[in-house]
């Protein structure tokens, strides 16, 4: 084989010959196409991250006209104008992150929501924007929640748009410190040993303890322009100015029972129900309370005033009681379920619906005397319900919001 003459294999120096331009242009186009083809490819679009109606623990629902409000974990509030959605999140300022338990329209503009840590939120635009009306900060040792070692202290509360909910809290009084609430308890209180069954409070018999960051579980009113918020360990608050300021109500009769709900009977008396069979009645618009004879030793989670002016209290393990004498005496209703009932409502035509553990939905067409169970039980726990039609309900619970229908009960649709 001949050696290749060196000269033949090498290019003449200098720029490309003019005659080669089609090939050079083609080369450039290929190079450009390759650069484009292999440049980072755009990601396909995804729905923006938001709280989904089926991904939020919903403890409270309220309706006024078409406006629907759902409140739940971490202080989140969802707003919709149809039971089918779409739901969007309301703005809450400041967002404490405490779980909300109930929401209630006071009139067609004013809405109140209550939750853990004695948190009360107020909205005057049908639930789009919320401001804090009350909050009980947790007393704590200054560095209890800080990691040990040389780690920087928590960032200043003002330094980020959304400070950690408890940043700088012990130095900050509740916004409405004007009312009769005592200042936050001292460090010693929270150092008490934990109560294993959760039911034993801080309570002593000698007068009211300082306010503890206990949860509010119910809201009621307005009863003669007075609104009530009730909750764990006997916490009861009242407001006579449309929920702007709140005052503590202390009742010997109630003690440190968890309070679930309050309702006004036809004769104007207020009925309060709560833990371990608690039923109390007040004839002076909530200033003084008298215990009613105990009809049940389990807890009540709610009480309803029915269209017929009867009252209906419901609670643990399928226990439902009905009163036709404004709460003085109670008679147990027939219930086909042993599940605890956490929420209830009355439809426009007087049907009663109760919801509870194991996706229990109970319906009464006879004014709460007896109930049927139109839906198969399922896994999730329901806390709250709004009747939509005679056989469909918007329910809220640990599975979020669901529109359930008895006609085709296996077809649950997400709102």
């Amino acid at each position: 084989m001949k050696a290749t003459p060196a000269a033949a294999g090498s290019d003449p120096a200098g720029p490309a010959s003019t005659g080669a331009w089609p090939a050079l242009i083609f080369t450039l186009i290929v190079a450009a196409a390759a650069a484009y083809a292999f440049s980072p490819r755009p990601a396909p679009p995804f729905a923006p991250t938001a709280v989904h109606p089926d991904g939020l623990l919903v403890d409270g629902l309220a309706r006024d006209g078409d406006r629907l409000l759902a409140v739940g974990e971490q202080g989140r509030i969802l707003v919709a104008d149809s039971v089918k959605g779409p739901w969007h999140e309301a703005t809450v300022d400041p967002q404490r992150g405490s779980t909300l338990t109930k929401v209630k329209f006071i009139d067609d503009k004013l809405v109140l929501a209550v939750g853990h840590d004695g948190w009360i939120l107020r909205s005057t635009d049908r639930g789009e924007h919320w401001k804090e009306a009350f909050f009980i900060p947790t007393p704590k040792d200054a560095d209890e929640d800080s990691p040990s070692g040389a780690i920087a202290p928590p960032p200043d509360a003002g330094s980020s748009a959304e400070p950690p909910p408890d940043a700088g809290m012990s130095a900050e009084p509740p916004p409405d410190a004007s009312m009769s609430a005592e200042p936050p308890g001292d460090v010693g209180t929270s150092a008490e040993p934990p109560a294993d069954d959760g039911s034993a409070g801080f309570g002593g018999d000698s007068g009211p303890e300082p306010l503890q960051p206990d949860p509010l579980l119910g809201i009621a009113g307005p009863f003669n322009d007075r609104i009530f918020a009730v909750g764990g360990f006997g916490l009861m608050l009242k407001s006579d100015d449309q929920g702007q300021t709140w005052q503590r109500v202390v009742s010997e009769a109630v003690g440190d029972h968890h309070l679930s709900a309050m309702v006004r009977a036809a004769d104007g008396a207020l009925i309060l129900v709560g833990e371990r069979g608690l039923m109390a009645r007040s004839t002076d618009n909530g200033d003084n309370w008298q215990l009613l004879p105990q009809v049940y030793d389990g807890s009540f989670f709610g009480v309803l005033a029915l269209k017929s002016k009867s009252l209906l209290a419901f609670g643990m393990r399928g226990h439902v009681f009905r009163s036709e004498d404004d709460g003085k005496t109670w008679k147990e209703s027939k219930v086909p379920s042993g599940s605890s009932l956490f929420g209830g409502n009355v439809s426009a035509d007087g049907d009663v619906v109760l919801v509870g553990a194991g996706s229990t939905v109970l319906v009464s067409k006879d004014d709460g005397r007896s109930f049927t169970q139109p839906l198969e039980p399922a896994f999730s726990d329901l806390a709250t319900v709004l009747p939509v039609s005679a056989d469909s309900w918007l329910v809220g619970g640990d599975g979020g919001l669901k529109l359930v229908t008895s006609a085709a009960h296996d077809k649950e649709t997400q709102p």
Binding site: A3, R41, T49, P194, D297
Partner: protein, 858 residues
């Protein structure tokens, strides 16, 4: 310098031929040695090899692999196909036995096995007097109707519906974690996985197989005696039994004794546990591995098919039995040497590197064809075998070695993907190609010195090319005229526009659900769908690790820690593509609510340690969500699928959360779980793609410049390759093949191998140009000499790798399809586009040379 190189080649060829007997003896000895060594090669699967171990996410995973099992989870699902739901005695009997069997799988983490039969699965019942929690299945359970009703009740209270019991109450699940042993040692890892796979096969067979197989020794195998029962099982190994090793511990204890399947006699007895109403679904890495390995067995069949097809093609091409056999043997040599070297350098065969021998064989055949072709041409022209060998060596050593070096380069750049299994693939393939320089370029000429060409073949070669063949080549050569070249450009531009647009649709990562290694119709993916559709848990888990090491006492009792986890949980639930999220915060709230009569309104995190301690049952390390003292906590995000884009979105959103929620002393780290692994792999692949392409094209450009000393030649060779790379991406996008560990190397391999055609062809063209021919003439001459070989080679190689398309393993199928495509289309590029480019780039040159010649002659 080029003269030096050629003198060098001449020197080597003289040495080679002069010392051919001694060298033959040496090579024979090496072959025998490697052949012996090859028998020791091990299958080396192993989970850790397949992940980009240095990636940030994987470092997180490795830091916590002792606490959280990472991604090596096993799910065994028993599905009741009969009437009614699972609450019947036969099902519970099967479930109990299956749970017991899972406990006995070697390497299983026994503290983390859970099913409705394990004591860590309890229910909580709330009563007026407080609540009670007890195991879902009572200790003395005998499947009476009352007890079954009791269990049904307990299950509904346990919160396990959708987790351990299917939503439709037709199946129940056993969940377990496998602790991988000693991954650094392939032999131990192999034994380990073989035992696990055998155990899994037997769990399935116990309920699905009508027959039970009892294995006894045919002959003594100390310390066991003839007739000893070694094992019993439910898997029909069939003819595979001989290859199936059994491991048995001697009666007195001690090391496991390996007993080969062929030492055993099999007795078939009826299986008392067989139940036609029970279907067993098993998913998890170990089962996947078992299925992948059984899929690999098919690969050997493809090897055989490819071998036979190659044999036939070779014979048709050369019409010489001797040359055909020589070419095949020489193509097999580097495969044998390579397999022999693997155990020496501590490598094993894994599901990916098993493809290397195919590739090496295919490339080996193509180079052997070039060499035997050149040799035959010399012999036909009247040389002796020895002289023909020497001449063939001299002609082909440089282009052959350059082509092989570029192949090696193609394999080497895939090592830019920072994943051990790809590294091994790269090293193995590189080694194989380099070995080929010895076997093809040195052993083949030596063997050829001893071959006498058959008369028939000689006559066949002497026949002038048929008129049809000539017509084809003439037609092809027209591409090398400027006018036709413009037409070629136009066609190419149209193709380019379409494919470039298509290629933008290429996705990174896998598409769809199920195991991407296997086809959607495979048993594994059937099982995966069965579990994914009836439970709330997916099998695609992204695990986010929260580290809080410096808090006093239990970190879970500090509100800032728990609160950020709770917020992360709610946030991730709102991310598109996320199915559900589980963590200590959510479970803690559930427990706290349980302490408050089950009331969902109490499902919130108290802000004090005292309050949080109510939920402390949720922080039990045995539940697998946190370590002792909550120093590390995992938030498990179950994804709807593991498509690359979905994963990337979830990771992006998680990173956004971490950035927006700084908590002093708390470090939130991504990511573990199988989706964490995929995220890391996808990111590694994405990062490697551009780097790899730039590296291979840069290196090829350099090599071409060095070899041809001409930027025009470099353009002629590289532009077609670039176009074909775009075509390949477009093909992947339109066939929904994602860019991943298995497919990323394809472009590099395809380019590295595809450049051969261009190099072999251009080497000839350059010779003819140097002799003063026009480019068109030079190209026609080159095609006459090497075109047939190039086309033949492309077809053989495409068929060789094309057989993979039928593999049970999806990624092998994808690789086979894409590589076949690359090989064929690169060949077309070399014989159509290369001349078109050359026609314009060398137009002036040819004219100038012709003019010069005229001047000289004139």
């Amino acid at each position: 310098m080029k003269g030096v190189l050629h003198r060098c080649v001449d020197g080597i060829s003289d040495f080679l031929i002069g010392w051919r007997h001694a060298l033959a003896a040496l090579f024979l000895a090496m072959t025998v040695f490697f052949g012996w060594s090859a028998t020791r090669v091990q299958l080396d699967p192993g989970f850790l090899k397949q992940i980009p171990i240095k990636h940030e996410y994987m470092r997180t995973m490795m830091d916590h692999i002792k606490n959280f099992s990472g991604a090596n989870t096993l799910l065994v699902n028993l599905h009741w196909k009969g009437e009614g739901d699972i609450y019947n005695a036969p099902f519970f009997d099967a479930m109990r036995k299956a749970t017991d069997d899972v406990f006995l799988i070697p390497g299983i983490d026994r503290t983390h096995v859970s099913s409705i039969f394990t004591p860590n699965t309890y229910y909580i019942e709330i009563t007026e007097d407080g609540f009670k929690g007890e195991p879902v299945v009572p200790a003395r359970f005998s499947a009476t109707p009352e007890q079954l009703a009791r269990v049904r009740h307990n299950v509904s209270l346990s919160g396990q519906v959708g987790l351990l019991v299917a939503n439709d109450f037709k199946s129940a699940l056993i969940r377990a974690d496998l602790q991988e042993v000693d991954t650094g040692n392939p032999e131990k890892a192999q034994i380990f996985y073989q035992q696990v796979m055998a155990a899994l096969g037997n769990i399935r067979g116990r309920f699905e197989s009508k027959t039970k197989y009892v294995y006894t020794l045919k002959e003594d195998h100390p310390p066991f005696k003839k007739g000893d029962q070694i094992d019993e099982g439910y898997v029909d190994y069939g003819w595979m039994l001989d290859m199936q090793p059994f491991y048995e511990r001697p009666p007195g204890g001690g090391e496991l004794v390996k007993i080969k399947g062929k030492e055993l006699a099999v007795a078939k007895v009826a299986n008392p546990d067989y139940n036609p109403n029970v279907e067993v679904n098993i998913i998890g890495f170990a089962q996947l591995l078992a299925d992948v390995i059984s899929g690999l067995v098919g690969v050997f069949a493809f090897f055989a098919v490819a071998f036979v097809i190659t044999l036939v093609l070779l014979y048709l091409y050369s019409r010489s039995v001797r040359l055909t056999l020589v070419a095949l043997v020489v193509a097999l040599l580097p495969v044998l040497w390579l397999i022999g070297i693997l155990p020496i350098i501590g490598f094993g065969i894994d599901p990916m590197s098993i493809l290397v021998p195919f590739l090496i064989f295919s490339i080996g055949v193509s180079h052997a064809v070039q060499m035997t072709n050149a040799w035959r041409n010399e012999v036909v022209q009247g040389c002796s075998s020895v002289e023909a060998s020497r001449a063939a060596f001299r002609k082909l050593f440089i282009p052959g070695a350059v082509a092989l070096l570029t192949n090696a380069l193609g394999f080497a750049v895939i090592m830019l993907i920072d994943i051990p299994i790809v590294h091994e693939l790269g090293i193995t393939a590189c080694l194989g190609v380099l070995l080929m320089i010895v076997t093809n370029k040195m052993i083949l000429p030596i063997i050829l010195t001893h071959v006498r060409l058959e008369e028939r073949s000689r006559r066949n070669s002497l026949k002038p090319p048929s008129s049809r063949q000539m017509a084809i080549w003439n037609q092809m050569a027209k591409c090398a005229t400027p006018k036709f070249a413009l037409g070629v450009f136009a066609v190419c531009l149209v193709l380019l526009a379409g494919t470039t647009q298509l290629s933008r649709g290429l996705v990174i990562g896998d598409s769809g659900t199920g195991a991407p290694e296997l086809r959607p119709t495979s048993r594994y993916n059937h099982d995966d769908r069965q579990i994914a559709t009836t439970y709330n848990i997916g099998t695609d888990v992204l695990s986010i690790i929260v580290e809080a090491p410096d808090f006093s006492g239990d970190s879970c009792l500090h509100y800032p820690v728990m609160n950020v986890i709770d917020q992360l949980e709610l946030y991730m639930r709102g991310v598109d593509g996320v199915r559900s999220v589980t963590s200590v915060a959510g479970i803690g709230k559930l427990v706290i609510a349980a302490f408050n009569e089950g009331n969902p309104r109490w499902r919130a995190l108290p802000r004090s340690s005292v309050g949080l301690s109510t939920g402390s049952k949720a922080f039990d390390p045995n539940m697998g969500f946190n370590t002792e003292g909550c120093k590390a906590i995992q938030v498990m995000v179950f994804m709807k699928n593991h498509e690359g884009a979905t994963i990337a979105h979830a990771i992006r959103e998680a990173k956004r959360f971490i950035k927006d929620h700084p908590v002093p002393g708390v470090k939130i780290r991504l990511a573990s779980g199988n989706v964490g692994v995929m995220a890391a792999t996808n990111e590694a692949v994405e990062a490697a793609e551009a780097k790899m392409l730039l590296a291979i094209f840069g290196a090829l450009a350099l090599l071409c410049l060095l070899t041809f000393r001409s930027w025009r030649a470099t353009i002629c060779v590289l532009v077609p390759l670039t176009m074909v790379s775009i075509f390949c991406n477009a093909l992947m996008a339109s066939m929904h093949i994602g860019l991943k560990v298995a497919t990323l190397p394809v472009v590099a391999l395809g380019v590295g191998v595809g450049v051969d055609y261009g190099i072999y062809l251009f080497e000839r063209i350059q010779h003819h140009l140097a002799d003063g021919h026009s480019f068109e003439e030079a190209f026609r001459e080159a095609m006459l000499q090497r075109g047939t070989a190039a086309v033949f080679t492309a077809i053989t190689m495409a068929i060789g790798v094309g057989t993979w398309t039928f593999s049970a393993l999806k990624y092998q199928g994808d690789m086979g399809l894409l590589l076949s495509f690359m090989f064929l289309v690169n060949m077309l590029g070399a014989i159509c586009l290369l001349p078109a480019l050359g026609a314009w780039l060398f137009r002036d040159r040819a004219a100038a040379t012709a003019a010069a010649r005229r001047v000289r002659h004139g």
